[in-house]
Symmetry: C5
Subunit: 360 residues, 5 copies
Amino acid sequence: MRRKKKKNKPVKVKNTSVNQVPGQVIYVGSKENTSTSLEIIDYNKEKHEVKHTNNINEVFQYRDSEDITWVNVNGLNATEEIEQLGKFYGLHPLILEDIVNTQQRPKIDEYDTYIFMVLKMMYYAEDGELIKEHMSIVLGEKYVLTFQEADGDVFDGVRDRIKNAKGRIRNSGPDYLTYTFIDAIIDNYFIIIETMGDKIEELEDSLFLDDPEETITQDIQDLKKEIIRIRRAIYPLREVINRLEKGEHPLIQEKTNHYLRDLYDHIIQVSENIEIYREMTWGLMDMYMTTISNKMNEVMKVLTIMASIFIPLTFMAGIYGMNFEYIPELQLKYGYFYLWAAMLIVFFGLLWYFKRKKWL
Amino acid sequence: MRRKKKKNKPVKVKNTSVNQVPGQVIYVGSKENTSTSLEIIDYNKEKHEVKHTNNINEVFQYRDSEDITWVNVNGLNATEEIEQLGKFYGLHPLILEDIVNTQQRPKIDEYDTYIFMVLKMMYYAEDGELIKEHMSIVLGEKYVLTFQEADGDVFDGVRDRIKNAKGRIRNSGPDYLTYTFIDAIIDNYFIIIETMGDKIEELEDSLFLDDPEETITQDIQDLKKEIIRIRRAIYPLREVINRLEKGEHPLIQEKTNHYLRDLYDHIIQVSENIEIYREMTWGLMDMYMTTISNKMNEVMKVLTIMASIFIPLTFMAGIYGMNFEYIPELQLKYGYFYLWAAMLIVFFGLLWYFKRKKWL
Amino acid sequence: MRRKKKKNKPVKVKNTSVNQVPGQVIYVGSKENTSTSLEIIDYNKEKHEVKHTNNINEVFQYRDSEDITWVNVNGLNATEEIEQLGKFYGLHPLILEDIVNTQQRPKIDEYDTYIFMVLKMMYYAEDGELIKEHMSIVLGEKYVLTFQEADGDVFDGVRDRIKNAKGRIRNSGPDYLTYTFIDAIIDNYFIIIETMGDKIEELEDSLFLDDPEETITQDIQDLKKEIIRIRRAIYPLREVINRLEKGEHPLIQEKTNHYLRDLYDHIIQVSENIEIYREMTWGLMDMYMTTISNKMNEVMKVLTIMASIFIPLTFMAGIYGMNFEYIPELQLKYGYFYLWAAMLIVFFGLLWYFKRKKWL
Amino acid sequence: MRRKKKKNKPVKVKNTSVNQVPGQVIYVGSKENTSTSLEIIDYNKEKHEVKHTNNINEVFQYRDSEDITWVNVNGLNATEEIEQLGKFYGLHPLILEDIVNTQQRPKIDEYDTYIFMVLKMMYYAEDGELIKEHMSIVLGEKYVLTFQEADGDVFDGVRDRIKNAKGRIRNSGPDYLTYTFIDAIIDNYFIIIETMGDKIEELEDSLFLDDPEETITQDIQDLKKEIIRIRRAIYPLREVINRLEKGEHPLIQEKTNHYLRDLYDHIIQVSENIEIYREMTWGLMDMYMTTISNKMNEVMKVLTIMASIFIPLTFMAGIYGMNFEYIPELQLKYGYFYLWAAMLIVFFGLLWYFKRKKWL
Amino acid sequence: MRRKKKKNKPVKVKNTSVNQVPGQVIYVGSKENTSTSLEIIDYNKEKHEVKHTNNINEVFQYRDSEDITWVNVNGLNATEEIEQLGKFYGLHPLILEDIVNTQQRPKIDEYDTYIFMVLKMMYYAEDGELIKEHMSIVLGEKYVLTFQEADGDVFDGVRDRIKNAKGRIRNSGPDYLTYTFIDAIIDNYFIIIETMGDKIEELEDSLFLDDPEETITQDIQDLKKEIIRIRRAIYPLREVINRLEKGEHPLIQEKTNHYLRDLYDHIIQVSENIEIYREMTWGLMDMYMTTISNKMNEVMKVLTIMASIFIPLTFMAGIYGMNFEYIPELQLKYGYFYLWAAMLIVFFGLLWYFKRKKWL
């Protein structure tokens, strides 16, 4: 796990809307070049119709349809067309601002005739980067509008169920459709949770390698930031779902309530896991500290053993390297060998000492 | 306590239900091969009857019985039969999903004619592994359904009391039966708490060994994870029991309330212990750090003493090993012995110095 | 403060009541051999009577007395007689279970005709061990029952006041008597708090000794456990007193309320102190870490100074110990003395350097 | 990032109002010499008028104007004139005290005919210092008063919109004007958040430099203090906006509520970011600790390798520097070369050993 | 900042009232020898009168005065006279106990005809010690009683204002007088906060000295204790003021409410600062740890550089000190100089290496 410099930027906020007039629709995301496209799915119990277009006007004919209409807007650059759409459905200007403000945290705003929600779609890109996409849902009486930053979402399962009339979806209202959207997004959080668990396990294992990357501190810090980013997306969502579940808005039918409660259960489960990972990641730093200290201990032991054994021996050799006129031992015939014997005794004595101390 | 690599997997979530239609009954546990068996216990004040079978249809005859019927389902693979049972007792599809979803956290769902609960049965297997089993209880007017992942549970005491008409059980309703189930599960938590206490004590002692396992950091981290897993099972259970105890559901008789309050007391006691163990386990890491540092201190002292004593002595010997033409001391008759005297003075002087510093 | 191995066992729970029938009266404490004895104090404004007996039947004659009767049961082994007493006063079976279950945490249960309380009496034994005794109080209309694990309690002051008609006690009801019991128990907590403060001070001082015991980490950990044990006894007591003070039960007279509020104040003060000690004990570990590190620093400085001074000098001596045929310095008449001069310059230069660095 | 000594003073409180009579208007800020100037902006749907003056009396003529009047007071020294203004608008003496007390934390006080708010304007000065300016707003029926410590504020956008009749501002009441003030202040917080993020990133990078400044600990501590100062300004503001948003005061029109809710959303977002930065800054200290330890490890390894290799070699050389009469190896013709061979074996053997240990 | 041993005792509780009869008035403070004196200030709009006396009976004549009477009791030893005063004003015995119990934490007790408050007056004595004085206030319909441990208080400003009829004091009731007392006490807390800030700054600076006092750990711990002591005085005071501010007691007039709210604002500001200082003090310990580690790093670098340079050189010299019969280099004419050249290369090579590693 090489350190990819700057892979995870600190959790920054770029608020280019400073000094702007409130209610102004200015896209502040980073995906400036993606074009905006529309996907319209109109269905009832008997039939369903799918239309892909770039022309905002095609939406307008579905207004008076008795069917349920799902309008999915990909790309948030065409702020002008989003404003047009907003006026068409009678949305409050602040909502339009939130739709294109990718910095907006998840929230729910209940209006008389519609409910507005902001959510965050998250997934890991192929290069391991955590992608966080801003997404808004407007739930009306006969329609659901979804706004996404880019093509490619997690709603293919929903499209499939509408197409094949699988499950309850074709027999239920737009509130159930909205539920399936949130359900799909939360299901994806579980995948993120799983990947995160693997990452932590990987980091934990790498702590016990003989030669851990020096970037491990950075990796742990990066992981902390990732957890922080995920928490920021998930925690406000609990409130959103809780508010929906209370079912006080007439747009939420009573029979959808059990499904929403189930959703709430899931989001609680996701947040619990995030908390656990958070605790474990913080614990990793402590583990790393003890690992470093243990290694230092080992290094010091090697030094101490080598120095403690050979410094006295060198001293002994130094004694008989002196040039005094009269050093009696030097004249002994086997003096040299006697000295070796003494040295070996010192050598093994110290070895035994260190062995007893369990340093060897 | 050898490190059993990967003994404790990080607390992962495998949610294979991603993109599935809500309300679909898919078993996501790991015990794929266990077969599903049924145990039916039907009793009233006078008599009781026990039946073991694999045939779901045998349950149906007990529906209209005036007695209390306990149907215990072992093994959650036979999702089809569980669906059948669910339809027979009129259970909501989301409940069936939760029964077989072993990842579901403990919860309570109150419906008009029945109460649904998810709990976690926990025990230590013989190899020391913590086993956590998913279990669901449905409490109806004249019946209690229990769903377990595998054979072998903690309800033998309950069976015994029904059989021998011990205690109040035969004279009470299905709410009291449900209480005895939860009571048996919580009683088992106390055993877990006790084992955990032993583990912590063991780890604590091993910190002060001369040669602690290097895996001690990992062992502490494993213990943390175990505590986290147990907390995840126990904490939501408090809510479950609290909701039951409030006794607002007509299925809970008033005289059962004192027992439920007692249960709540027990679960609080278990969670308090878990919190204490958690704090102590976190403290272990700090203790380990000081232990390492103390050891390093000792290593450094040995090095410092050896080097500080013998390096100056070696220097002294080196002086008289020089080949200058005129070194007056070398001509002294007893120069060699004078030097030894000086060396011994230095030697004992340093020894005294280190003694005074309490390094020896 | 020598480490008394295993002095403080980890805060364990031994729940021998696993798989027992709910409501069964089984003593789970450790004082199996103490006999059970009764003390009956019957008093009114004018007179008071004290009786010590082992015979449960003697209690029964006081039932219809118009006086206030305090029955104190010492020793919880005679479960059969406690059951008898329970039946006599009409106590719920779960209460009897709690009376003998020494693991039960402090709690209050309000019944129609009596209030049941569990408390913990705590004191330091002579060998410094913290003794925690289980005690239950039943407050009825004309009687108070107290159940204790062993002889010897903190109620001598209360007995004295009844005997000598000191204070309001003889003129007040059983609720005031109950208040004096709790007051006596909490007064004892203050002594514990004081002893604890001394222990912390002692540990803190021992951190700065030249040669601290190696067991200091263990001592700190033991102290943490002691604090945890005390918290477990004190925290639930706050709820107990709070519930009493709310005075919604008819057995609590209004004029007793000011006294109970005062009690609540005291228990809050005790818990605040416990929290402060807790924080300070946790801080001790950090202090110990810096102490160790400071010591290591000192050791390293000695090594560095000795090695840095003598290694270069040894090198200089080594130079002139070489046997090259032509080393001009060796032929100098005063070469040896010139070298000594050079060595002294190096020696004092390094000394000066270390002095400037404040290492000496 | 050189340490600018004393750049960030500890978060001090200078309360020069000690022992003063309550309600006395005494300026306690540090900008003693700035003169006080007035700016009056009077507007309605059709027209707007701007007047700059130092004469407090000019304000009085706008009292009975049907237009909305914004009176902006720059500089809080002229306490006498502020008192005059206060009397003119009927403000409570305690409010006047708060207007000039720059230590006052953000708060809201609702009176019958006006709402009083204290806020903190924050920006980074050009030398990188965080400037925190005290500012008060009084919202009346037809007027808004703003009080600032110095010239130069963040309201140019608002002035511009009034002048050019951009957005809703000219068509809305003084409550909307107040909203735009708070909005402008919070927008500025986002810039602070961004700068803060850059600082943390910079510090984080500097941790991994080979030679980090020794002042890094101080820099981290300074950052902590900055975060603390910002939190103190922002946290109470949440309450302020929350109280405004509840819209119970008749001065807040219902159509302004959506804007206030949006504001609340923004301030929550700012506080969340502050919390995240706080956590990350605290984490920096841990990272720094591991960095230091890692460096120490590296230093120790170099020492250990050098000493462990050359100390044994020096010993070997020392052996054959001895002057024993009979050392057989010395007579060997190629003895010198044999020794070199042995030394090389030792040398490479140790190198291989350290390589295997991954210390090289 | 020399360590004054035992300057700050651990936050102890000495409860000499153990086993005493509830409601007994026993002074438990440490100022046993101070005599008790009375100060009576009687005032109305037109006049005011001051009397100093030791005779409790002089108070009694002011009972039926229509003016506001402030009775200030200095010294709490004369428990008998305090009891007399208590009876005279009809105070509950428990209140008298609290008046003389200097361990009592700040609290408020509302009775029908009076309000009883306990507060803590705090200031730094000249020797830098933090003095904490117990003080009680009884607010009645036409009187205010204050009880203090010793002479010398923070109410001179109040006396002055009564005397000179400054501010609203002579025109307001006893509730406003009580407000000015609490205001004076809280104003003093701001001075404590400021001193505390200076202490922290001083400690922070001393961390970066070359030779910090070894007592710095102790100083930090002492500071922690001081903060803990201050918190214990301030936190309960928030409740006290909050309860007063709610203004439900008839003794608190409505026009005093704005002043009390202002007080609450101040006490919140004080507690916020305490929290900040607490966090910063805890951070100091971490800073100290990194400082120690940095110093150790520096020590190690010196050792490593000295040893790594001279050990190899000594080895080279050792080689040519050997006495082998045939060492070709020794016969070279300029061998000695060639060796010096080699040594210089090694010397500068290693210097360059350490330079590149930024260790020099």
